[in-house]
């Protein structure tokens, strides 16, 4: 089987990056983990000790990832509080999955495409979706759906798995247009059972689309554990069925998720095709803020995962290695809080949509039918 992994090796550094690509060329190649598919790639252990020192990203990257994870977590925590006070809609939390989302999305530039699911607010924030708009989205305000012109991020996907073929198309379009941009799409363990997952991975392989597919295996699809969703115990193996590289990574180790994703992005940019990355993580939180997991799982099920907290893990590492101090950490906290509260003020100021807006943006030019229907709504408003 002529898998692209076999020869792949970063030829060119990425054009630009939210976080620069790893500078150590010896570790950048896919060959490094091509043989390790059965295992889970990990660079730092849950307690913060380094397990693969030679593959660690630069300190500046590590600090950046730490900041991004803290920021993502803060959003998650604040969203919860805001929901309780009626200032946020129903929100699917991702707390505990920050390494899986931040480490992967940080490997993109704003010229790349991001296709997030409802669970991936942390990834979207990392990619660059403005906080205020993100808040607006979760308040179901149209401002949250009208994505910024300078980014290529799509509103969070609700119908499971449907985003995967879109990523293939966007990636292929970039190639046809001669750019080096890539597309990244997220999916859950549950979502990977859908036919769209299969079709997309196969299309991407067959058409050599520069895609990075992130499969966040967080153990649950609402109430159904991964083991009931499939007999497979290693979802990254699915890649083999499409002749593309599959990587399994500790989804609570942000340095590992970042490293493998940056490498996959590089391969895609270099024309070597798609990669499937399974991030092994856990949904420690309920399915949404409105869900009660005690209906379907016990404390035992989740036991142990607090000790694998991705933010604390990197924090322990940075503190231990002297790259972070308690003071600097407190400063990060202040910065993040201020940024969020400012964004909240912006979001609070977004005007409410008017009723007739439900009929806007169906077609560039409304059909006669829509013109009439709009007039009806306006008449009702007038009345």
């Amino acid at each position: 089987m002529s898998k692209p992994t076999a020869k792949s090796k970063s030829k060119t550094p990425p054009k630009s990056a939210a976080v620069p690509a790893p500078s150590d060329p010896t570790a950048a190649g896919a060959a490094a983990y091509a043989d390790a598919q059965g295992e889970m790639i990990q660079l730092i252990a849950p307690d913060g000790t380094v397990t693969q020192p030679e593959r660690l990203p630069d300190v500046s990257i590590r600090l950046r990832l730490y900041h991004l994870m803290r920021r993502a977590r803060h959003f998650d925590e604040r969203a919860w509080v805001l929901y309780r006070t009626g200032r946020m809609g129903v929100f699917p939390p991702y707390g505990g999955m920050e390494a899986s989302q931040v480490g992967t999305a940080a490997a993109l530039t704003p010229d790349d495409w991001l296709f997030p699911t409802y669970r991936d607010t942390g990834a979207a924030l990392t990619y660059g979706l403005p906080l205020a708009q993100t808040i607006a989205y979760w308040r179901t305000s149209p401002h949250g759906w009208a994505m910024p012109e300078n980014l290529k991020v799509l509103p969070f996907y609700i119908p499971i798995a449907t985003q995967y073929p879109h990523a293939v198309g966007a990636a292929l379009a970039e190639r046809r247009r001669g750019t080096r941009n890539v597309a990244m799409a997220y999916i859950g363990d549950g979502g990977s059972s859908e036919g769209d997952f299969h079709e997309a991975l196969n299309f991407a392989g067959a058409l050599n689309a520069p895609c990075v597919f992130i499969l966040q295996n967080n153990g649950w699809a609402i109430s159904v554990p991964t083991r009931s969703q499939t007999r497979a115990t290693n979802l990254s193996r699915r890649a083999e069925g499409y002749g593309i590289p599959g990587v399994r990574v500790d989804g609570n180790d942000v340095l590992a998720t970042y490293r493998v994703t940056a490498e996959a992005v590089q391969r895609a940019r270099d024309g070597e095709g798609p990669t499937l990355i399974e991030t092994v993580t856990y949904r420690v939180k309920p399915h949404t803020v409105a869900d009660d997991p005690s209906r379907y799982r016990t404390a035992e099920d989740t036991a142990g995962w607090d000790a694998r907290d991705p933010v604390l893990r990197l924090r322990a590492h940075l503190l231990a290695e002297g790259h972070l101090t308690e003071e600097a950490d407190a400063e990060i906290t202040r910065e993040i809080e201020a940024e969020f509260e400012e964004a909240l003020r912006v979001a609070d100021a977004y005007p409410e949509p008017t009723p007739a807006e439900i009929l806007d943006h169906v077609f560039a030019e409304p059909t006669p039918q829509l013109v009439r229907q709009r007039a009806q709504i306006l008449a009702e408003e007038g009345a």
Binding site: R139, A221, P353, P355, E357, Q369, Q373
Partner: protein, 340 residues
């Protein structure tokens, strides 16, 4: 509202106050109890008992072979159900929301409706597909769709949409006992908002028989599912102004009870049809076309459709209610056909 169920074969006389979701749960439990061929499956229907709790407690009571979670894949769910039906079981699948039926439409359009026909009745598919549908409760994007017209246009499948707890129970039991595939759409808005006395024990309400909710001589309002209570409110308001409104709850779109529709139209000569689905080519169109073909000589005014719009159901909570027909709109349509 106090709808009168018309159980056809109930022996018990005792009733119990129930929400629609409780009535559905009751029907499913009875079906599992009465017929070992009945199997219930879908996403989160097992331990969790469904996102709306329609299957609450059933796995504990009937075991994980009879009531089980599937992987997250709707084509797989319906497709597997077809295979189970071919092999003689009675599959009762739950699709978590009607808007997530779309990945399964190939299995529906290519097979569910065709199997009896293509095998000349060597095989038939006694399958029920349940799905919550419709808006009005501020669900996330694509959780408020009303795709019943697509199914009604699919030869070989029946479409049932109850509007009260007692109807839901009797119709669901009839659907499960039907030898052919039945789509059973449950208005999310009605799951818990409505309680009524529901007969205990087993009874069925025949598919294909509409229910005259309130009688009236001036205007016929035809509707089903989540729109029945909306129509009733408008009818009540009209009655206060001396207009006699006959509200017809179709209960089943396929088979369609044209007899009841035409009898009413012949009496009133004025028709308003209410659905919350998108306007162009919704099931309201079929009802209107049927009347325009069969009873035009009785019409004293245009047939007015009060419907959703030719736009996606909006994901924007603060304005989503604009989309769904409300009693004011229906009342306006009633005035319009009266004023013609």
């Amino acid at each position: 509202m106090t709808a009168t169920p018309s159980p056809t074969q109930t022996k018990t006389l005792t009733t119990k106050t129930m929400t629609m979701v409780a009535a559905i749960n009751d029907a499913l439990a009875l079906a599992l109890e009465r017929d070992p061929a009945v199997h219930i499956f879908g996403e989160d229907v097992g331990v969790m008992g469904g996102v709306f709790r329609a299957t609450d407690g059933l796995q504990a009571r009937f075991g994980a072979e009879r009531v089980f979670d599937t992987p997250l894949a709707e084509a797989g769910i319906v497709g597997m159900g077809i295979g189970m039906g071919l092999a003689g079981l009675k599959p009762v699948a739950e699709i978590q929301f009607a808007g997530f039926l779309y990945p399964a439409l190939d299995q529906v359009l290519s097979h569910l409706g065709r199997y009896r026909h293509r095998t000349r009745s060597r095989y038939h598919l006694p399958m029920v597909v349940r799905a919550p549908y419709g808006g009005g409760v501020h669900t996330p994007e694509q959780h408020a769709d009303s795709p019943e017209a697509i199914l009604a246009h699919t030869p070989g499948v029946k479409v049932v949409i109850p509007s009260t707890p007692a109807d839901a129970k009797g119709l669901l039991l009839a659907a499960i006992e039907d030898p052919d595939p039945v789509f059973f759409f449950e208005a999310i808005k009605l799951y818990r908002s409505l309680k009524e006395e529901v007969p205990e024990g087993h009874y069925t309400i025949p598919l294909g028989k509409a229910r005259v909710v309130t009688a009236g001589d001036d205007v016929t309002v035809i509707t089903y599912g989540g729109m029945v209570e909306v129509a009733q409110k408008a009818a009540d308001a009209a009655r206060a102004h001396g207009i006699g409104v006959e509200v017809i709850d179709l209960r089943t779109l396929v088979p369609l009870d044209t007899e009841t529709i035409l009898a009413s139209v012949q009496k009133t000569g004025r028709v308003v049809i209410v659905t919350e689905a998108p306007r162009t080519n919704g099931f309201h169109s079929e009802i209107s076309a049927t009347i325009a073909e069969e009873a035009i000589e009785y019409l004293r005014s245009p047939i007015v459709r009060v419907t959703g719009f030719d736009a996606p159901y909006p994901p924007f909570t603060s304005i989503e209610d604009v989309y769904r027909p409300n009693p004011v709109r229906v009342a306006k349509a009633i005035r319009q056909v009266m004023a013609y």
